[in-house]
Symmetry: C2
Subunit: 533 residues, 2 copies
């Protein structure tokens, strides 16, 4: 009886924690690979006025005005409010001092700060609150300052280009002096450069890509330094791809891979996102199957970039658990059951079942490739075979050769996403894929990509089908559109037809520096013949 | 010629800085004597509701309500606002944590805090601002919290008993957990105790005196931990007197004496108040002659308490310069010129010339006593003689024996203050003084004390004249009045007839824990036969 209890206990323990001691060790490695942040003191470049302008992005424009030269001498008690432009997107903490102009400071001063990534955030009132996410995301702060002539450092890290400072309480003569951002990034040195012969719009898109990535590279690959300020698997994948052709901070990728591994649940399943503070912890309950499946691709790309076979082998069990979860969903006739799972492809509303077939196929292919490279090919023999079965089953169930499209059997509207993933997953041949994409993009009622995240995969699919010109023009139209609208960094959500499109009910909630939009640099350098000419 | 230049240079240098190298050394000693603060974690004692009540002090009363037991488990997302009563006045920083109740915190939370020494500060809106001092004195803060389940410490030190916390932005389920004040003081152990046979009202007054002093004893003797949070000579004097009969932290007195000495101006003149941060510095330009004259009394009392003759000798030059400044004002016929000087005796508007005579006489007497005790009697021989001259001159110029009052020759209204200081300075005999006080206190149109600071000197004068019963009843009526109105600590300004009396246009600006009101404990222990029976 003791033995039985012991056995049951062991079995439970195994069920409770498939990775056993590994997770502790993985967390140790994550702890050892936290990247150092470089800190740069950045000064504002001008004082600006935010003015309404229907021609400007979101209806607001910043106009430079005089005052920066004299700011550190001018009596802020009289000025009362100033808006500063730091010239580029920054992620960091604000430093400043109140410089006494004559008499000593004999009472506290209350200052209000509003930080914004865009001019509109400087102008649009936040209250009464209309967003569906927390009001806490808005970057406004109040501070009571007790001492002058010493550096004051705001506690909270901000993501911004613009900053308004308002005097709220205080009646002594002082100047705002030494206003700086202690900007942080773990990006390090840029390892690539475009030739000047490269078209200007491509160079501009590349620059904004690089800025976006740099700002999101902190102690993890954040999704956005304003919001959500944390690590998601989907963003990590795209950031590591863009990183290959830019900052090449592969240790950051390793750090993030280990964090996710250490924070799997007791069944070994990955959570979609994680937080670093106060201790690393995942967003419990948030499983995103399409993100979990990308983990193998991130590890494979990391292995390709670094040759670090030890890490790949160490984390292989994590890849395997995610893949096994997917394989359990393969039905007898070959299609993959998409029910009871969060399958994220885009902010757009779409039937995720069809693109999911491609996502599983892509994961199988990447996983098998990874296994072979680390000498675990024998563990994936069954999965290699499974690919043909799924391909056949998915084509039968979803591909309409008459319409040249992957379609939902339930009659949901056709989506660009379904074609993209059928191409990436090898369900459609390049030729079929090109036809499908051309068809669906012309289709009026088709569901189209609604985020740079989905646009990334559209470009990927186009390039896989040899639609080089379409890929190029899509990049120039979409990412170039943000550049033309004044983007310093690329946005979480961008709709060329609607400047106010935002995912959460109030457009200043949009993250205007969002990692998943940073991949143009990946395409530009991976396919120079397509983009650099 | 060289010699002349050299001489001129030396003379100028001397004129520019009479204390030369001493000030650097004094600052070093001040640095070595910074007291240690003890930190005590204090929990709230109840959740309260602030309700209007015309019978209550300033029209507001805190009523305990249920909720404290469950606060650390209750969903603050639903509660949204709570007012806590910490049961006593505290000076310190707030610590708390957001405890997740279920899902992880996935967005920042904005909290608003309002700290108050009195119930009214919890209820009275601060905006639009009506005070004549900075809005910055009001203890309201906004904070954006990014992480849950870890201690959050507010940067700013607050002085409060009550605290309202409001949810301003944030939509996840959390409880306010571990709400504590890290209360600080340098008071140390209480060295005295009243016998239980002592009347309850006296014991209560004594307790509130001690709390007031304890809260003001930080790294300097502050005037008030809410406002002005700094060291004034006048408060230092009264705090050190009260300290003798309570905490006996004489090193704190020494620290403050050295700070003032180190921060004299180039002519050796004391500034009336000083700030500790970011570096010790005085309020340049703020000379208060009556305060400068009290420096000798503080040093004398310190010497009496400690026997530290080294310090007294070291700082004797500072005393001398202040006294010389006063002596230069003595006119041929004996009275002291009060023009071109800030002479503070009270918040009440009064002709300061008459009480100034007494203040100079008191300083002369104290200075001569100090000089004799440290072996510098020879330096003050002239000043000893001067006392008789001033006494004679002042009596001739100001004393009206028919009215039995010290009166302004300019016809300004009679003031209690003029009588008080004539008694303390020995211009009137005890008998004359008692007659003068009795007369002036009955006089309808006389200027009366408008602050506990002036009330202290009234008690002092009464006791010098043998008006023991009047002193006792004055203490019970005045300080006891605050006790009956619910004071945890004594106030900067208290008018028994007007709960809203405040010096700066908006009554919540009043400092409700103010050092200059802490001296009942001094009187109670110095004159046990008067107060303890």
């Amino acid at each position: 009886m003791c033995a039985v209890i012991g056995l049951a206990g062991f079995a439970n323990a195994a069920a409770q924690d498939v990775f056993g001691d590994c997770r502790g060790r993985w967390m140790e490695i994550a702890g050892q690979t936290i990247p150092e942040l470089t800190v740069t003191e950045v000064s504002p470049v001008s004082v600006v006025e935010v003015v309404a302008d229907t021609a400007a992005f979101q209806g607001w424009r910043c106009i430079p005005k005089a005052g920066l030269d004299t700011l550190s001498e001018a009596n802020f008690r009289r000025i009362r409010s100033v808006t500063l432009d730091f010239g580029r997107h920054l992620t960091g903490r604000l430093k400043f001092r109140l410089k006494t102009l004559g008499d000593v400071m004999d009472a506290p001063v209350k200052l209000k700060f509003v930080f914004g990534e865009t001019p509109a955030e400087m102008a649009e009132p936040f209250d009464p609150w209309r967003g569906s996410l927390s009001r806490g995301w808005m970057q406004d702060e109040m501070l009571t300052v007790d001492a002058a002539d010493c550096d004051i450092l705001l506690d909270r890290r901000m993501a911004f280009r613009y900053l308004r400072i308002e005097l709220f309480g205080g009646n002594f003569d002082f100047a705002l002096d030494g206003v700086r951002c202690l900007a942080t990034t773990s990006a390090g040195e840029l390892k690539t450069a475009l030739d000047n012969s490269c078209p200007k719009i491509i160079r501009d898109i590349n620059d904004v890509s690089l800025a976006t990535l740099r700002e999101c590279m902190q102690t993890v690959y954040e999704d956005g330094p304003k919001r959500d300020r944390r690590l998601w698997i989907g963003d990590l994948y795209l950031e590591s791809l863009a990183g290959r052709y830019s900052y090449q901070n592969h240790q950051l990728t390793k750090h993030c891979l280990y964090l996710f591994a250490a924070l799997t649940d007791n069944n070994g399943r990955l959570l979609a996102d994680l937080f670093e503070h106060p201790e690393p912890h995942p967003q419990w309950g948030t499983y995103c199957f399409t993100y979990s499946l990308l983990y193998s691709s991130i590890l494979l790309e990391y292995l390709n970039d670094t040759g670090d076979i030890g890490t790949a082998r160490d984390l292989w069990p994590v890849v395997k658990v995610q893949m096994e979860d997917a394989v359990r969903r393969v039905r007898d006739n070959g299609w993959v059951d998409a029910s009871r799972a969060w399958l994220f492809f885009d902010h757009a509303v779409l039937d995720a079942e069809v693109p999911f077939q491609g996502a599983v196929m892509f994961a199988l292919e990447q996983t098998c490739e990874l296994a072979r490279k680390i000498g675990c090919g024998d563990q994936v023999e069954q999965w290699s075979k499974l690919q043909a079965k799924i391909r056949k089953g998915a084509r039968k169930r979803y591909y309409n050769p008459r319409e040249h499209l992957m379609l939902s059997p339930g009659g949901a509207p056709a989506s660009v996403h379904a074609q993209i993933w059928a191409i990436i997953g090898g369900i459609l041949s390049p030729k079929e894929g090109a036809r499908a994409l051309e068809t669906v993009l012309k289709k009026e009622d088709a569901v189209r990509p609604a985020s740079p995240y989905a646009m990334h995969y559209l470009l990927e699919a186009m390039l896989r089908c040899g639609m080089n010109e379409a890929a190029r023009s899509t990049m120039i139209e979409y990412w170039g559109g943000m550049v033309r609208k004044g983007a310093d960094t690329f946005w979480e959500v961008y709709d060329p037809a609607d400047d106010f499109r935002a995912p959460y009910g109030f457009y200043p909630l949009n993250s205007y520096c969002h990692a998943w939009s940073c991949t143009p640099t990946y395409f530009i350098f991976k396919y120079p013949e397509v983009f650099q000419k």
